[in-house]
């Protein structure tokens, strides 16, 4: 540049420190607190903590190690799928077939290890592979044929359910080789099953991939605006298809973990999961319109859903109210999120107006 006009950033503060996260020592200053609230996960974590405290004050058995173990165990199957669903939502798509796919893959794997006489590890891998294959079909139908994900995966929900029944006539595949139940019912640490630890690893890895890698950045771009992502050279089709495949595989994995814990290839595995998964991650702030959210937040959303469901039971409310609560919480969570965004947008405009130097920016923003 021939003429260098200084960039009007916050005076004297190196750019590094101007990112959303404040330096640690400032954590309790007013600005610091505000910024903590501005982090998108903060609202959901605070709600979670509040609910836990409320339920525990109503019934101290709520935080008993037994109940905590039960809750974490119960949520992990579905939450494993939520990891894939979150990535898929961020890429701008979603998958309604995950419940059916979980059931179908479990049944396929059970069939292979009993009637097919395959060794258990191979049958399990093929089961996960079958979930991946279904995901691939979903991905190709959505991305290549341009059929909206809602229709394509709703179709797959029925088709997979149908295949499940064709394969089993509705009867569970039972008994399974002894080792399956052994893995499924094992409690390697703190009396919690493998599925929870698998979930934790998946959440940590997926969250890091989203936050720290080019893959994550490209996913956000793909879900934010597909055309722009294409323009900057991102292979958006590939990203979406891979997310579908991954979601299918995770659905299958969850299905097989349930199969292990039941020691039976039941046809009812996964029934109704698709909506719980979406409700949970949406509560966590993952946008249905793509490009917004995080795996950690989706996980916390699933956790919150579980806390409410168990909490109502522990407190002694009729189980039928659980279902009502899921619906109410989902709508309330999205409503609160919208409200929070509005408030923070207004605050940032006020701040800039108060600053004055960049008045024209607010004017443009207001005109939009």
């Amino acid at each position: 540049m021939t003429e260098k006009t200084p960039v009007t950033l916050e005076a004297g503060v190196p750019l590094e420190q101007q990112s959303g996260r404040p330096p640690r020592r400032k954590a309790f200053s007013r600005a610091g607190v505000q910024r903590v609230f501005a982090v998108s996960e903060a609202g959901i974590v605070i709600s979670l903590v509040a609910l836990v405290l409320i339920f525990n004050s109503l019934q101290s058995a709520f935080l008993s190690s037994q109940n905590v173990r039960a809750m974490l165990g119960a949520m992990s199957f579905v939450a494993i799928i939520a990891v894939g669903q979150t990535l898929l939502l961020i890429a701008g798509e979603f998958d309604l077939s995950v419940g059916s796919v979980a059931g179908l893959s479990a049944v396929i794997s059970a069939w292979l290890m009993t009637k097919g006489h395959l060794p258990v590890p191979i049958a399990l891998l093929l089961g996960i592979g079958s979930g991946g294959a279904v995901g691939l079909i979903n991905g190709l139908v959505v991305v290549r044929l341009g059929i909206p994900a809602f229709i394509a995966t709703l179709g797959m929900l029925y088709a997979a359910q149908g295949f499940d029944l064709l394969l089993t006539n509705g009867y569970p595949i039972y008994p399974l080789p002894h080792s399956v139940g052994k893995i499924g019912q094992a409690t390697p640490l703190f009396g919690i099953g493998w599925s929870f630890y698998i979930l934790v690893v998946l959440v940590v890895v997926a969250d890091l991939v989203l936050r720290r890698t080019t893959i994550g950045r490209n996913l956000y771009a793909t879900g934010g605006n597909r055309e722009i992502a294409r323009l900057v050279g991102i292979n958006t089709d590939l990203y979406k298809i891979v997310c579908f495949v991954l979601t299918g595989m995770l659905a299958a994995l969850a299905g097989m973990l349930v199969m292990g814990s039941l020691a039976s290839g039941s046809t009812s595995i996964g029934s109704g999961w698709e909506l719980i998964v979406i409700a949970g991650v949406v509560i966590g702030g993952v946008s249905l319109f793509g490009g917004v959210g995080s795996v950690a937040a989706g996980f916390v959303g699933m956790l919150l859903l579980q806390v409410v469901q168990s909490g109502l039971v522990v407190v002694g409310v009729s189980p039928n109210w659980q279902t009502v609560s899921v619906g109410v919480i989902m709508v309330a969570a999205v409503g609160l999120d919208l409200f929070r965004r509005k408030v923070s947008a207004r605050d940032s405009i006020r701040r800039r107006r108060a600053r004055g130097s960049t008045l024209h920016e607010t004017e443009e923003a207001g005109a939009m």
Partner: protein, 505 residues
């Protein structure tokens, strides 16, 4: 002439910052009154005061409409009291007919809930005839051109028979002859006694159509100019508060470097049809050369850039640096060293789910990553280099891009396309919706990039911009090149003649 609309000492402040101070505006009946000022001057705030977006009581001062003080409670109230507003962003309901678009919300017979299409078409035909707009009321709005959409918006605004019609930058998305068409309609309206406020960035338009002009700067009226006193230099000087020495940077004649981009026999068909949008187009761009593409919207200029960037299917040969390249998708073009700045910042430019820095680096993350891991320190440093070089003005590198001004948004996108050091730069309307000061900065940048050896192809609807910047101009009409001239040989008349004559043929 009696004033139709006046403001008396209108002031408005936000948290101590004066956005408008003591603004006295006087718009005479039957006039087209220009409202000028670059971004931040207070235009948008004044518009919001006049259209009821900031209701009465939200600002100080008084609005007088047709001699009586008025207080608008809401935009709907302002409309009911006689202020019609055509916003900059055209909002046409694509799936509805022209008639339904004009009378949207008031389609019923005599205000009832019953719709008679015969009645609706009759009313629409009468209104359009009165405005001298030739449009079939039954046509679906999706089939309309940009000008027709703009005229449709005007018709919608006038269907309420307002006292004042406000037009907010109505020409931004129109090409030159289309602007003439719009101006013919506005002239006709003026003859019929309609009072208009015309908000614009384009100063020549003021001389072309307006009777008076009010110039705002820093929230104050800094000049009131009558038609016979219009001097473009004076207007610019009033807007920026100093005389702009030269809008276009001077430049030594481009050295005849090697050919960087060669296009031969380019053909682009309208998707799914045999209709050619572009055919038989060929040209060469040398190292350090700026080549302009002039022509109307729809003349094929954007399609040429899109083809070279691999966005649309095409036939023909495209050679970069001596190598023929196959362009199936934008990533192929990027690999070959081609970068493109698209015209529509909102739909094809900015990612609103990402912050400023991430908007710059997206697509170029390989430059700041180890494998797939993004090195955030390197990313921040790299992005800041570009922000400084382009003097992007923002609160921080993690600011929300939605809140930036048009000019700063454009700079963010320029940083993005420049980050991986392209050999060929394609610019589609690089200064659209950008204030005068930023325009000048962008011009300087373009020239500097060319001086550094980049081959640049630039599309613009503003002919003076092409004449001022480009080493060579190609004039397009109907998808082919109809004229070509070097720097200093062309003129606005020559370009307009070339485009319009071909259309007549």
């Amino acid at each position: 002439m009696k004033p139709v609309l006046e403001t008396h000492n209108v002031s408005k402040s936000f948290a101590g910052v004066q956005a408008l101070s003591q603004v006295n505006l006087r718009v005479d009946g039957g006039n087209i009154h220009a409202l000028l000022g670059h971004n931040g001057a207070g235009k948008s705030t004044l518009i919001k005061v006049l259209t009821g977006i900031y209701p009465s009581g939200d600002f100080d001062g008084e609005i007088v409409l047709q001699g009586r003080p008025v207080a608008f409670r809401s935009p709907a109230d302002a409309r009911a009291k006689g202020i019609a507003y055509v916003p900059q962003e055209i909002s046409v309901l694509e799936h509805l007919s022209v008639a339904e678009n004009v009378f949207v919300g008031r389609t019923g017979v005599n205000g009832s809930a019953l719709v008679s299409f015969r009645d609706l078409y009759r009313r629409t035909r009468a209104l359009l005839a009165q405005l001298d707009i030739e449009l079939d009321p039954r046509l679906p709005a999706s089939s309309l051109t940009a000008t027709e959409r703009q005229l449709l918006m005007v018709a919608r605004a006038l269907s309420t028979e307002p006292a004042v019609l406000m037009l907010d930058e109505p020409t931004t998305s129109l090409a030159r002859t289309e602007v003439d068409h719009l101006f013919r309609v506005l002239n006709r309206l003026r003859e019929n006694g309609v009072t208009m406020i015309f908000i614009t960035h384009r100063i020549p338009e003021v001389g072309a159509i307006c009777d008076r002009a009010t110039v705002l700067r820093d929230g104050q009226v800094v000049a009131e100019i009558a038609r016979d006193e219009f001097q473009e230099d004076d207007i610019v000087a009033a807007m920026v508060g100093r005389r702009v020495e030269r809008l276009y940077p001077s430049r030594a004649a481009a050295a005849a470097g090697d050919a960087i981009l060669e296009v031969e026999e380019l053909r682009v068909a309208r998707p799914g049809t045999d209709l050619d949008l572009v055919h038989g187009v060929g040209f060469t761009v040398r190292r350090g050369e700026i080549v302009g593409l002039a022509g109307l919207v729809g003349s094929g200029r954007t399609e040429i850039l899109s083809a070279i960037y691999g966005r649309v299917q095409h036939e023909g040969r495209i050679v970069v640096d001596g190598k023929t390249i196959k362009l199936r998708r934008p990533s192929d073009a990027r690999r070959a060293g081609i970068a493109m700045l698209t015209e529509d910042r909102k739909r094809e430019g900015l990612l609103f789910n990402m912050n400023l820095r991430e908007n710059v680096t997206i697509g170029n993350l390989a430059l700041v990553s180890h494998g797939v891991l993004v090195d955030r320190r390197a990313e921040a440093a790299r992005a800041q280099d570009f922000m400084e070089a382009l003097s992007v003005r923002a609160r921080s590198a993690t600011a929300d891009v939605a809140h930036l001004s048009g000019g700063n948004q454009q700079k963010v996108l320029l940083a993005r396309v420049l980050m991986n050091a392209p050999k060929v730069l394609l610019l589609d309307e690089p200064t659209k919706g950008v204030d005068v000061g930023t325009k000048q900065e962008i011009y300087r940048l373009i020239v500097q990039l060319a001086d550094e050896g980049m081959a640049i192809v630039m599309v613009s609807s503003e002919i003076p911009e092409l004449l001022g910047l480009c080493d060579r101009c190609l004039v397009l009409a109907g998808g082919t090149i109809v004229d070509e001239f070097a720097r200093g040989e062309g003129s606005e008349e020559r370009v307009i003649e070339a485009t319009t004559l071909t259309e007549a043929a």
